[in-house]
Each structure stands twice: as C-alpha cells, then as structure tokens.
C-alpha cells in the first residue's frame, strides 16, 4: 500500500461512483496501521451531501474497529440526504497531528461542500486526488474527464495534485479493464501536470501476472460499498426478524 504517497489532509474527488468512498476507507484504515504505536489520529470525513446511501459512513463499524474517527452527520441525520458538514471537520483539518481523508460527493455540488473548507485546506499540507473509473457513464473519454475535473476542482476552490486510476467492473474486472483505465488516467495526469499517484486494483486481481509492471503504488480494494447481501456494508439492518413475526 502506498502510505507515503498522500498528504496529511487528502480530499478525494471524482465523478459519482468512481470509488472515492472505497479509497477513503482503504487509505484511512491503512494510515492507522502505518502509524501504529505513534500518536497521530486518523479521521475519515464523509462529505457526501448527494447520495442517500452507499456513503462511507455506512462503514462506521469497520472504521471504528480500525481506530479511524468517522466525521459525518450523526444519528438520524446520518440517514438523511441533507447538506450537513459536521462542525468538527474544520478542527480536524487544522490539527497537525491528525491525518484526514475527505470523501467528497461526486459532482460540483458535492465539491462545493469541500469549497467551504478551502481556507483550512490551503493552510494544511494537502492533496486533492482525482479518481478515474472509466467504465462509468460520462467518464470514458479524455474530454469528459477533463471537463469533470475542471468542474470539481473549480467548485472546491483547490487544485488537483494527483490522479488515481480505478477502472473496474466490480467482480468482473479484468486486467484489460485496469490497463484501459491506466491509459486514460495517465493522459489526464499529464494534461493536469500531476502524477498518477495510485492505482486501485480489486482484491483477487492484485496478484495477476498479466498486470503491467510499470504501475504506480497499488491500493488493493476489498469492496465495502456493496449491499449487505453481496458482502458489503451498505444498508445493514439490525436483526429484528429472528422470531416469528406477528400475523404471519
């Protein structure tokens, strides 16, 4: 895992469904492992003000178990789609001993929420990483990604500092998908004059011999943002029905 390749405060932007939440969870939990024995805290900020579910906050148990602090709307507000930024976020970004990963909603409206933090972000050592998942709609071509990148960065008031390649088809991902996504990600990184910082590879494919050798640091993705019945954490419910239901 590429634990040295991201700044103390790292915000993840990209079109909806590009893999920001998966990367945020992976980076945050890995940072704890990296700093084991040390004092710094790690926080994951779920800044997704767009989606009703499939948000990083649904991995709360995993994050808690890993020692990551989750900064997200709490209680009943956690299951609303309201534009709420927890008041603790600004403080966390400003703390020199806190590593912070920010998961941003996947369009300019979502990135505007990040824009409201641009002042504290700029004052901190930070990264703004653009994630590219090429099989997603409106994300297949160079022009589409560049237009999206401009919209997202513009709304956030920050400059993109790196690109992450995450082209996949979930369980059906092939090496060819990874390669095809890397091509576009490299083109975009070159055009933005930044580095291709990471490549996300689905668990199970990371050992494939056909993977290109010239890869940037790899993040192995164990998919969490899938429904519970597919092995993920999304829409987990408390077991109430383990008894005979009245009237059945």
């Amino acid at each position: 895992m590429a634990r040295t390749s991201w700044s103390r405060v790292t915000a993840l932007i990209g079109p909806a469904g590009s893999g920001k939440s998966e990367l945020a969870i992976a980076l945050a939990t890995d940072a704890v492992v990296a700093r084991k024995g040390g004092t710094p805290h790690v926080a994951l900020v779920d800044l997704d003000v767009l989606k009703p579910y499939f948000r990083a906050r649904e991995a709360a148990q995993i994050l808690r178990a890993a020692g990551v602090e989750l900064l997200a709307p709490e209680g009943v507000l956690a299951v609303a789609d309201l534009p709420i930024i927890p008041p603790t976020v600004r403080g966390a970004i400003s703390r020199a001993d806190m590593r912070v990963v920010i998961d941003v909603g996947g369009d300019p409206v979502g990135a505007r929420a990040l824009g409201s933090l641009a002042d504290v972000m700029t004052a901190a050592p930070h990264d703004l990483l653009l994630i590219i998942s090429r099989h997603r709609p409106f994300a297949g071509s160079f022009d589409e990604i560049m237009a999206t990148a401009a919209g997202l960065a513009g709304a956030s008031g920050l400059k993109i500092t790196g690109v992450v390649a995450n082209t996949h088809m979930m369980e059906a991902t092939t090496v060819e998908d990874v390669r095809w996504g890397l091509d576009l990600s490299r083109q975009v990184a070159t055009a933005l004059a930044v580095e291709l910082r990471l490549v996300m590879i689905p668990e199970g494919l990371a050992e494939a011999e056909e993977l290109p050798l010239d890869l940037p640091p790899i993040v192995i993705v164990k998919r969490r943002m899938t429904p519970v019945f597919m092995g993920g954490v999304v829409l987990k419910s408390s077991p109430r029905g383990m008894r005979q239901v009245p009237g059945s």
Binding site: A16, G17, K51, P52, Y53, F54, V79, A80, D81, S133, R134, H135, R136, P137, F138, A139, G140, S141, E144, H168, M169, M170, A172, T226, P227, V228, F229, V234, L235, S237, P239, R240, G241, M242, Q244, V245, G247, S248
Partner: protein
Amino acid sequence: MATAQRLLMKGTEAIAEAAIRAGCRHFFGYPITPQNEIPEYMSKRLPQVGGVYLQAESEVSASNMLYGAGGSGVRVMTSSSSPGIALMAEGFSYLCGSEIPAVVVNIMRGGPGLGDIQPSQGDYAMCTKGFGHGDKHAIVLAPSTVQEAVDLMALAFDLADQYRNPCVVMGDGLIGQMMEPVTFPEAPVKVYDKPWAATGKPPTRKHNIINSLYLDPEELERHVYHLFEKYERMRADEQRHETFMLDDAPPVVICAYGTMARIAKTAIRELRKTGVKIGLFRPITAWPFPVEALSGVVQSTKVFLAVEMSMGQMIEDVRMVVGRDRPVKFFGRPGGVIPTVEEIIHQVKLLSN
C-alpha cells in the same frame, strides 16, 4: 458517453440510458430521493440526442406533460419515488383512460407519508391495483438486477406502444442506487404505427381527438369494456416470471420480487448447502401477476413463504393463486428496512419445525 459497450452503472442511470436507447426523447419529472439520478442523467443526456428534459413544477404537472407529449405519439417517460408517484396518480388514470403510451418508473422508498429515503416495496398495491382512479390496469415490471432494469425498460416502451397504455417499472431504492456492470443490447428501436396520435390534421383524415371524458354513461361503459378487452390480452400474453431451484420440486417455495428476490436467492443457496430443499418463484410482472406459472408450482409445494420489504402486499396475489390448499406464510420488514439473508434462513427453519 463512453464508447465501451460495458458500463458500470447505478440502477437509476441504467434506467435512464436504457430509456434513451429505447427511443425516449422526452422526460418530465420532479426530483425526489432516491431516484434523482434519473432526472439528472436525463437532463445531461437528452439534449445530446436532441431530446427534451423538463423539470415540472410538481408531479401532477409532470404526469400531465406525459399526457400531452405521449398524445403526440412520441416516447415519453417520468420517474419518481413513492410519495411522488402517489401525486402522479391522477395523470396516470388519464393516460389509461385516453390510451396514451408512457413509461413511469417508481423507485420505491419507505412509507407511509413522507416516510424515509430507504429502499422499500411498500407500493406494490398502489402500482398494481390503485395507481389512479377508475377501472383500469397497467403492466408493472419489477427488475431484480441493474441489467434486468435495462432490459425491462426497452420492453416497457414496447408494451406501452403495443397496448396504448402506460407501463410501470417498479424498483426499490437499492436497485436504484447500487452499481453493477451492464451491457446495452444492440436491438433496433421498434417503431409502432400511431395513427391515433394528435400530430396536426392532414386533409386525408378527421381530427384525432385524445380524451377521457365520456359523459354518456353507456358510451363510457363501452369504452371501459374496450379497455378491459385490452387488459385481458395483457393478462393472457404478458405474464412473466423466473423460477430458481424449483427443478426438484422443493416442498418450500419463497415468493419474492425485485431486490428482495436476490436476497432470497442468497438465502436459498445457503439453505441448499445444508440440505434444505427450497426454491424461489419471482414475479417479473407484478401485474399481470404470473398466475399460470405459480399455479403450476402449487401441487408439489407444501408451504409458500412470501418475503417482502413491506408488511405484505404481493402476498395477497400469491394467496389468491395458491388458495387454501397450501399455507402461505409471510416475512417482511417495513419502513425501509431490508430483510437479511440470516432472517430469511431463520424464517425457513421456523417453517420446517
């Protein structure tokens, strides 16, 4: 748009793209969670293909815009979620009465009332039996995967045109929001002759009038009889279903549709591993309910278990088919809570005891 044939899409996005590929160029709607990606996608894509996206001032307006545009013969759709669909009910009845093809997508959320924004199947009764006033019906398709949502969207537009009737695609918030790989079929758009459409009067025919007002009761009665001849053809020809692990005539059969059927399939696979003989009957058309196919399963089944993300609505159709010969048990959770694999397994074990 990506040039790749394979795409990774949310159900909502896939539904919107499938509609466009089915020739839909007109969308009228009003935002509501958890289906906002449909209007959002349409607002981006329709202008690219020369179509019209219009956000109405309300759901009632949107459904009446369907009436106007559909009346001119073009392929039209709207989408909403439970409370919004309820608001559209008036226009929906007018579409049925005036025989205007349109596709209505309902991505259901928890109710009643404003409820919540979590996935639910609480609108089965509304969609299949009560969507608007008067004697009428509409075909209701219930996809279980994002790919099936793509396939059923094309079918929905064809059925709407074929029968001159609105067609409903009914999913829950989960299928709307989850991402899965999809491919879009290359099939050409079927074009239906629409001599009834109000497209301007050429000298060769009289005015085409689109109307659902029949003040003379016997004339209205004749019109409703005509509609019901059509609905009888739908009942005869359009029942669709899937069976899963029913080949060895298991004594326990789960009935579930949509996302719930997928969770049930996972439970069935687990139960089969432990030697429990069990299978699934999944309605794909919630209306017309697949009566014929389910009837064929009754003889070999000892007990049915209906599983729904509601307090039990489809179960009434299951009971209607199964009758009193076999028990039909129920498990479901309302309010936008999704029954789990473990809970279903537990309920099946309770049945066996």
